[in-house]
């Protein structure tokens, strides 16, 4: 029986998987150690923004990412699907990559093949949640030019959200806290990293915060066209599970 252990990161998974894929084989079991690395996939865009430190002692052949037939699009699909942390996602990724090698770059036209559909489905779920948080994430001011946001996402969207907010709020220091996974992305005006942070570690708001929140609630309530009240539609767009982390109060 082939048991594959990896460190919990996508990079680690691919490193461990590569020898199997080269032999056109699949491991029987994939075991994950629960380590989260911001190390994602090699990217040629702004490499200095991404911390790629691997777990110490993990030897990886950089050729692992040169699997013949796996296009950049396929790598991205696989990585996005991986971030869903769905049970069995590792094996789905392995099957998808094997098919990619077999189809020599054309794998993503096989949209009706279950191996491709699974990956697309999970990747889509992850990207949809990321997009949702691009809008619904709320920063609170917790100190001089220091902002804090807390999320409780179904998928591990933090590695996708962080670069977006680095680009947007480059001149403010911020923390995005994933309470479910007990990690946080921290940006210090130069680089961002993912560190551990317990779910109960919630900082105090700064004195100015209350006034800003009040103004926002005022705007939120007065912008609704009351002749068109449609709370069902509102709730469809903002499912209840996201309400507690908002400043405004939907549903009335």
């Amino acid at each position: 029986m082939n048991i594959l252990r990896y460190d919990g990161s996508f990079y680690g998974l691919i490193c461990a998987l590569a020898p199997y894929l080269y032999r056109h084989q699949l491991p029987d079991v994939v075991e994950r150690e629960n380590v989260r690395q911001p190390a994602l996939i090699p990217t040629d865009e702004e490499p200095q923004m991404i911390s790629t430190a691997l777990a110490p002692g993990l030897a990886c052949d950089p050729q692992a990412f040169r699997l013949p037939g796996v296009s950049r699009e396929s790598w991205l699909n696989a990585w996005h699907a991986f971030l869903s942390e769905a049970p069995g996602i590792e094996t789905m990724i392995a099957r998808y990559l094997l098919l990619a090698i077999e189809k020599r770059g054309a794998v993503d036209t096989y949209l009706t093949d279950d191996r491709v559909r699974n990956i697309n489905r999970f990747a889509h779920r992850v990207l949809a949640e990321k997009h949702r948080f691009m809008g619904l994430l709320r920063f609170r001011n917790i100190g001089q030019n220091l902002y804090y946001a807390s999320i409780n996402s179904d998928n591990f969207v933090l590695p996708l959200l962080a670069p977006f907010f680095v680009e947007r709020f480059a001149d403010q220091q911020w923390i995005i806290h994933d309470r479910r996974r007990e990690v946080a992305a921290m940006y210090d005006l130069r680089v961002w990293t993912i560190i551990e942070r317990s779910a109960g570690d919630l900082p105090e708001d700064s004195p100015e915060e209350d006034a800003a929140q009040r103004l926002w609630r005022c705007f939120f309530d007065s912008i609704a066209v009351r002749e068109r009240l449609n709370l069902a539609l509102q709730q469809k767009f903002i499912p209840k599970k996201y309400w507690s982390d908002l400043i405004e109060t939907p549903g009335r």
Binding site: L111, P207, L215, F220, K236
Partner: protein, 468 residues
């Protein structure tokens, strides 16, 4: 309803902090802007300056959804609800007795920044009544956005309403600072405009529009060499796709939009959509917004429809979508039928019902353009079909696997394995089958005023406002 009103009182609290004086202004000036619909923040994309604040995301981002189910993307406010004009349909008109106020440019800039830094908004949507005269008002608006861009280093999205009648130099200056400008058409014909907005002439509206178009062309040349949409690339913008921001002087990189009021004047859907089409083609507008007229001022020049034509507005948006993304022309939409959109079905089904000779469409052979015309197929579905059929013949089950909703499409799209009983139906029968297969499809409930039992007549008064 009482709840909502109770909630509003929160805005009257007077916190001790610095921005406290602003809260009343925000309450009045956001309520005054709420009926303005042109709030999408897409159409522009801008990288942040290194180490700076703010960028513009190419895909529009909603930061919240208001109690009416509409996306909140921008801080949408009027600079002031004072107005020297007297448009019949507008709450802010000179002759109305309402609570009036104005921001200062500093207050507005600070408010925008404090919302933006907390990720409440994509940026600012700024409109205004006419304070004194158009030039003075325009200068105040420019001061506000200049503060944002130059003092606060704000790189987020700004949509500014051009004040008709303002000096062209001021218009140009404003355009170099913002992402999108709009000049509202207000009413879909010259005659209606004359009657209902006597202070505005067609020239006053079309001239700035033409100028903005020409300046935009001159300063964003790359945007005017775009091919029509293809099946391969992501689709965006009317008839042309988006290009990344290029450094240098940029004049409204997000282009211009306009808005018209529906139901206050007698134009039919065909006239309205023909006008929109020519605005897209000749004026290179990015969006035309439609706003169902809600009577708030009792005025003999105005109709008093029992309820706003929300369903009609909805259908116009759908048809407008077909013009911009589905390669329909206004003329062919109304071929073989009356000049009004079908209230039972969306305009794509309407067109299909009027053109039985074009269906069914073969999923394995039809070109991308024809796939786009199949009711139930969106741009994404059509792209998936084109891509997936390269790997082999698509059967009916495969279409389902691609995630295509066959509820409507099955009557118009054929593939090996299709149920033959669904295809080639006579339009009358098809109509009935379609109605029967999706009884909840139209959801007039969502769109009718009569469904709000606690409805207060007073709210009508606030209906249309700040239309610049």
């Amino acid at each position: 309803m009482a709840n909502v009103i109770g909630e509003m009182e929160k805005c009257l609290d007077q916190p001790q902090e610095r921005l406290s004086g602003v809260i009343d202004k925000l309450r009045i000036l956001s309520a005054a802007a709420r009926y303005d619909v042109s709030c999408a923040s897409s159409g522009s994309s801008r990288k942040s300056t290194p180490g700076g604040l703010g960028n513009v995301a190419a895909s529009g981002i909603c930061h919240s959804w208001a109690a009416d189910g509409r996306c909140i993307s921008l801080l949408k406010v009027l600079f002031t609800n004072h107005c020297a004009y007297d448009c019949a349909y507008c709450l802010n008109r000179r002759s109305n007795d309402i609570e009036r106020t104005a921001f200062t440019p500093e207050e507005l800039a600070e408010l925008t920044i404090s919302f933006y830094r907390r990720n409440y908004i994509e940026g600012l949507f700024l409109s205004s009544g006419v304070l004194g005269n158009p030039d003075y008002t325009m200068e105040l608006l420019i001061r506000s956005v200049r503060l944002l861009r130059e003092v606060h280093g704000f790189g987020g999205y700004i949509h500014l309403k051009a004040i008709p009648g303002a000096d062209p130099d001021l218009l140009f200056e404003a355009g170099t600072l913002v992402d999108r400008m709009s000049v509202n058409l207000e009413l879909p014909s010259h005659n209606s405009l004359q009657l209902l907005a006597p202070d505005k002439s067609k020239e006053q509206i079309l001239l700035p529009m033409t100028r903005i178009r020409d300046w935009h062309r001159e300063h964003n040349p790359q945007q005017h060499r775009q091919p029509l949409l293809t099946s391969q690339t992501e689709v965006s913008g009317p008839l042309q796709s988006r290009k990344p921001f290029v450094a240098g002087l940029n004049f409204v990189p997000g282009g211009q939009s306009t808005q018209m009021i529906i139901g206050a004047s007698p134009e039919d859907d065909r006239q309205i959509l023909t006008l929109s089409e020519s605005l897209y083609k000749k004026m290179q507008l990015k969006r035309v917004y439609y706003s169902a007229y809600i009577p708030i001022n009792h005025d003999s020049r105005l109709p008093e429809p029992p309820q706003p034509q929300l369903l009609r507005e909805h259908r116009l948006y759908q048809a407008d979508w077909l013009l911009r993304f589905y390669r329909f022309s206004a003329e062919e939409l109304f071929e073989n039928g009356p000049p009004t959109l079908d209230s039972d079905f969306d305009p794509k089904i309407m067109w299909a019902l009027r053109h039985p000779e074009r269906f069914p469409v073969d999923a394995n052979r039809a070109d991308f353009g024809m796939l786009l015309r199949v009711p139930g197929l969106g741009v994404l579905s059509a792209q998936r079909i084109v891509r997936a059929r390269r790997a082999g013949v698509l059967r009916y089950e495969d279409l389902v696997k691609l995630g295509i909703v066959m509820k409507r499409a099955r009557f118009f799209l054929t593939a090996p394995g299709s149920a033959t009983g669904d295809l080639g139906l006579d339009p009358h029968l098809l109509r009935r089958r379609l109605l029967a297969s999706e009884p909840g499809a139209i959801k007039p409930k969502q769109l009718s005023l009569n469904d709000f039992p606690g409805f207060l007549p007073e709210v009508w008064r606030e209906a249309v406002t700040g239309q610049f």
